[in-house]
Symmetry: C2
Subunit: 676 residues, 2 copies
Amino acid sequence: MTLITRRKNDKTLNDMAAPAPADTCARGHPVLRPKFPVPSDIEVSQSIVRDVGLLPIEEVAREAGILPSELLPWGTGKAKVQFAAVLSRLRDAPHGNYVVCTGINPTPLGEGKSTTTVGLVQALGAILGRRAYACIRQPSQGPTFGIKGGAAGGGYAQVVPMEEFNLHLTGDIHAISASNNLLAAAIDSRMYHEDSQSDEALYRRLCPGGRGFSNVMRRRLVKLGIDPNSDPDDLTTEERSKFARLDIDPSTITWNRVLDVCDRHLRVIEVGLGPNETYQPRGTVGGETPRRQHARRTGFDIAVASEIMAVLALARDLADLRDKLGNMVVAYSRGGETVTADDLGCGGALTVLMKDAILPTLMQTVERTPVFVHAGPFANIAIGNSSIVADRLALKLAGEDGYVVTEAGFGADIGMEKFFNIKCRASGLKPKCAVIVATVRALKMHGGGPPVSAGKPLAREYTEEDVPLVTAGCCNLAKHIENARKFGVEVVVAINRFKSDTEAEVAAVREASIAAGAFDAVVANHWAEGGKGAEALGRAVIAACEASDVGNFRFLYDLELPIRAKVETISREIYGADGVDFSELAEQQMAQYESSGFGNLPICIAKTQYSFSCDPKAKGVPTGFRIFVREIRSCVGAGFLYPICGDIMTIPGLPTRPGFYDVDINVETGQVIGLF
Amino acid sequence: MTLITRRKNDKTLNDMAAPAPADTCARGHPVLRPKFPVPSDIEVSQSIVRDVGLLPIEEVAREAGILPSELLPWGTGKAKVQFAAVLSRLRDAPHGNYVVCTGINPTPLGEGKSTTTVGLVQALGAILGRRAYACIRQPSQGPTFGIKGGAAGGGYAQVVPMEEFNLHLTGDIHAISASNNLLAAAIDSRMYHEDSQSDEALYRRLCPGGRGFSNVMRRRLVKLGIDPNSDPDDLTTEERSKFARLDIDPSTITWNRVLDVCDRHLRVIEVGLGPNETYQPRGTVGGETPRRQHARRTGFDIAVASEIMAVLALARDLADLRDKLGNMVVAYSRGGETVTADDLGCGGALTVLMKDAILPTLMQTVERTPVFVHAGPFANIAIGNSSIVADRLALKLAGEDGYVVTEAGFGADIGMEKFFNIKCRASGLKPKCAVIVATVRALKMHGGGPPVSAGKPLAREYTEEDVPLVTAGCCNLAKHIENARKFGVEVVVAINRFKSDTEAEVAAVREASIAAGAFDAVVANHWAEGGKGAEALGRAVIAACEASDVGNFRFLYDLELPIRAKVETISREIYGADGVDFSELAEQQMAQYESSGFGNLPICIAKTQYSFSCDPKAKGVPTGFRIFVREIRSCVGAGFLYPICGDIMTIPGLPTRPGFYDVDINVETGQVIGLF
C-alpha cells in the first residue's frame, strides 16, 4: 500500500549532501546528473541553484534572442520582457512550430502536463539542440497553499527557482486582483452615490468646473452619441442625466470580487451591512425617512477566474488591453443598457494597474532553456491558457525551425477546446500539433479502477500490472485524440511514465493511441531523467510538426451560430453529451446577450475537469448525459461568454490539512522549506 | 477663488516640450532646472526620466554603499536590498543621525510630510554633500485611486519614477494581502472542518501516517507542553484532542480580511452564505439533522492596516518576522486560550509569502539621492511608520556623519507618538531630531478658518494674508512641538511654503515655533525648487542633530502600566484629553489581554488625524473632551494593542468622482497619464 499525499511525495527525500557531478547539454551548459530516487521538487530546484547555478537571467534572455534593452530584471532569476519591442524588431521573422500540450481527464493527482511541457522543451532545446520555448501559466497561490502540487513542472523537468515561480512571481495575479477589486468597489460605491444624489449634483461632482472631460469620460460620451470634444458646460440637461446616471440594476451585476486564496466562505457573501453604508433616498429630507441599507448579496471568485485574467491571456498588445478592459460589461442599467468599466470611469486605471502584468515573465528550466510564464491556470473555471502575447513572442524568437510548446490546462475537453476555439481564433496563430499527456494510473481509473484521491492510499490496481484495466480506460484518451483531430492538428500522445508502469501496460496505451488517430505515442520519463527522458517525445513532436499542414487547422463552430447552438456543439462534439439544458437565468442571460450584440462571441465553458460530463465521477467516456448550464456570465472585454455548468465552484476551499502546514523558511539561510 | 481638487492640481500643466537645461548637484549629477509654474507630479517625474535620465539603480546602490551582491533589481528603477548581508558586513559601523519627519494635524489636502522628507534628503545629499537617506512608506493603492495625492513627495521633491512608486512597487502590500487573507481563510475553514469531525478524525487528517509533525506543528506542541520531538502516534487521546481541536469562539475573532482598495461596502459583511458552506454537526447521521449554515459577520480592512504590515514595520530580521507572524493572535478558544497563526499551521507559509517583502526597496529622488521604501502608511489606523529594517540599514550605510530621515505619518500626535513609543522601543534606535511640517494654510484652519476639503473651492482666508488667523492657529503647532520635546529630541519646524504665503505670515509661524521650544523654524520651498529650496532646512537639521544628545531620549509611558493607564497617558499627555471612556467590549478585551499576558504591550491608537481629539472638526488645541475607545484589537505578533477610537473606519470609501477617472495610459508610448 502506497500512501499518496501529493504526487510529489511519492518520492523519497534522499541524501542531498554530496552534489552529483554535472554533465553538459547540447548547448554547452552544465546539467545536474539526475539522482535516483528523485528528490522532492524543491530539493531538485535548490540543488540546481546550489550545484549547477542558475544561468543569469540576462544570459537566458541573450540565448533566447532578447536584447538587454528589451529586458527588465525582476528579483531572483526572473525578468519581464518588453514584448512590443521584440515583436517590432522581429516583425518580418517567420513563426516557429506551434505545439499545444494538454491531457486526458486527470486524477486529482494530475497527469503532469506542466512537467511534460517543460520536459519536452528541455528535450527539444538542451538535448536536440533546437530553439525551443515553453509558454506556461503562472500558478494560483490558492492551490499552492491548498491541495495541489506546484505548477512549475516537477522532478528534473521544472522551472527554477521553483519558489520564485510558485510565489508571487512578478506580481501579475496581484495586479489582476487589484484591478478586479478596484472595479468592484467602483460599482458598489457608484450605486451608493447615485442613490443619494440628483442627476445634476452627480454631474457636477463628476465634472467639476474647469477640468474638462477626462479620457475615460470621452469614451462614455462616444457611447452615448455625444461629441467627445464637448466641454462639460455644453451638455443639455438630458445629456447630463444620461452621462451621470448609470442606474445599475443590482440584480444584473455579474462582477465578483476576487482573491488568490482558497476561501470557500467568500463564495456567497452579503456586503454593505455597515451602519455607514446606508443612504438617504433622493428627494427626502434628513431624518424624516428612515435610511436604507445598501446591502447586496455577491461573492468572491479565485483571482485566476477574473475576466481580467482572460483579458491578459487574450490581449494582443497594450492598446488591445486598454480596449478590452474598458469594454468589460459588469452589469446592465434598469433600462437594459450595458454598464462597462469605462462607463464607471475605470478602464484607464485598470490598464495602468496591468501595465507590467502584460509583459511576459522569462525564467529558465533546470536545463537552462527559456520559459515564458504568462496568464493563469484553471481551465475548468477560466480560459486557463497562457497568453497570446507570450506565444507570439516565443514564436517570433523561435523562428522557422524553432518550437513553442504552450500549455492548455486540465483535460483536453476544456483546456484544448478553449485553446483552439477561443485563443487561436483571437490570435490568428495556427498550431501544428497537440501533445496529449496520459498516465497509466489515470487510464486505469477511467477503465473502472477505484477512486484516486489526494491524501488517501492508492489501491492495488494502481501499483500492480493490470493491462485489461488500462485498455478499458484508453477510451478516454481515444476520445481526446479524436477531438483534437477535429481541429486538423496532428496528435502525439505523451505517456508520462511512473515507476510502477509495466511494458505491457505502456504498449496497450500506445496501441490504443495509434488506433484512435494519433501520429505517435511515446513514453516519456523527463520527471526522473530531465530532457533526456523526453528525447523520443521531442523527436515525435518534430516529426508530427513536419507532417502537419497548418492549412488543415479549423474551428469547431462558427461564431455566427446562436449562443445555444454553440454550447450544444461543444457539448455534443467534444463532451459527447446528448444535449444541453439551460436554467431560466441562463435563458434570460442568452436573450440579454443576443439583444446586446454579444451573441457572436465564442464560448468558454466552466465545468469539472474530471470527466467529459459535469459529473466528476463519470470516468472513461460517459454517454447518455446532458449538460446543465446554471448561469452564463458575459466576458465581453475578454471576448467570450462563460456558461457555468453543473455545480462547479468559482473559488475552491481548503482541506482539513492544507499544504501550508508543510511550508516554512530556514531563518538562517532564507531557504524555503516544504513547498512540494 | 481657487478651485482645489487635489493638492497637486494647484499647478498648471505647462509646456514640457522644450527640455530645461540641466544643472549639476554637489555629487556631480545632472539636475533638472525646475520650471515655473511647477508641472504636475507625473510630468516632473517623466521629465526627469526623459531629460536627465534615471541613474541606473545599480549606480544608486553603489553610491549608497550597497554591493552588487546585496542588490536584487526589480523592474524599472527599483531594487530590493538584501539588508541582512549589508548589516552583517557593517556590523561594527556607527549609526548616522536619526531624524523623524512628521507634521501638525493636516488639512485633507496634506501638509507635505513626504515631500519634505524627500526635499530634506535632497538638500542634505545633493546640495550639502552629506550621506543622506530617506526612509519612506509605500503608498496604499486605495487612496491612489481614491482621493489622495501620491505619496512619492511632489513637485521637485519626489521619488522617481513616481508611477513605479505609486503602483504595486515591488509587491510588498500585495504580499501582505496574500498572507493576511490566507490566514483568514484558514480560520473559517478550520472552524468548518472542526464542526463536522471528531477529535480523532481531525487528528488523523492533520497527521496522516508516516509524515511526522511539520515545523509549525512542533511550535503548537511546545505551546501545549508536549515534547515537540514526539511522533504523531505517541500522543495520548487527550493530547491529540488538545492538539487537533482549536475550538475557536467565533465571537472572539479579531482577524479581518484585507484589500488594498477603498471599498466601503466591505466594512461589514456576512460570509459563508453559500449552500456548500453548511456542515453536518458532529454525532448526527446524514440527512436526519438539518445542515447548519456556517455564516459569520466580519469585515475587510485596508491592507495597510493589517497586523502583517505592522509586523513588517517592526520586525528586526527574518527570524523575528517568522516569530512575529506565528505569534499573531487571531481569536480565542471557547476555553479562553489564544489561537495563533502557528496554531492554525500558517506561520511558516506567511513568512514564505513575506520573504521578499522584508527586503527594503531602493529608489532615487529627482536629485538621484537614495530612498528606501518600506512598510506602510495610515498612522491613523495603523502604525504608519516605515520599517525598522530600512531605518537600521540606512543608519549603518549613513555612518557617523550621515543622516537618515524617516517618515512618521499624519499628525505628530499619532505618527510621531507611535514612532517614539512603539517603533523606537522595538528597535532600540535613538532619534536626535523631529522635523514637524506645517503649512500656513493648515495653521489658518486651526486658527478658525473655514473648512478645507478636497474638491471644494478654497475660501478667501486661505489665499490672502491673514496674520492673526495664522497666529491663532499656531497653538496646534506649539502643542506638537511641546509633545515632541517630552521625548527629549530637538525639534525643527519646516514651514512648507505655498505661493500665497506672505513674509509676515511665515514670520508669525517662526516666532510661535521658537516660543514653543523648537530648536529652529525654517521656510522650505523644495516642492518648487528641489533640494536647493530645503537647503536652510537641511542646515537647521544638521545643527539640531549636533546640539542633540541621544541620552535625553525617553518614552512617554512604562510598559508595565495597566493598559488603561497607558491609553490614558497618551490621551492626556499627547492629545490633551480629560480622560478616556471604554466601551463594554473594550473593557472585556482589556481584561482578556491582561489575563493572557499581553498587558505589557505598547499602545497603537487608531483615531482621526484631523484633530488632537476624536472629532475631526475640533481644530487648534481642543480641550474639555474625552477619548472614546470602542474596541481594542490585539496585535500580539506585531507587539502592540490597538484601541479603535471614535468612529474611525479601517477601510475608506470612494468619493463620487474618484481619482481613477483621471488615470489612463498612452497606448503608443506606454506612459501613464493623470496619476496626480
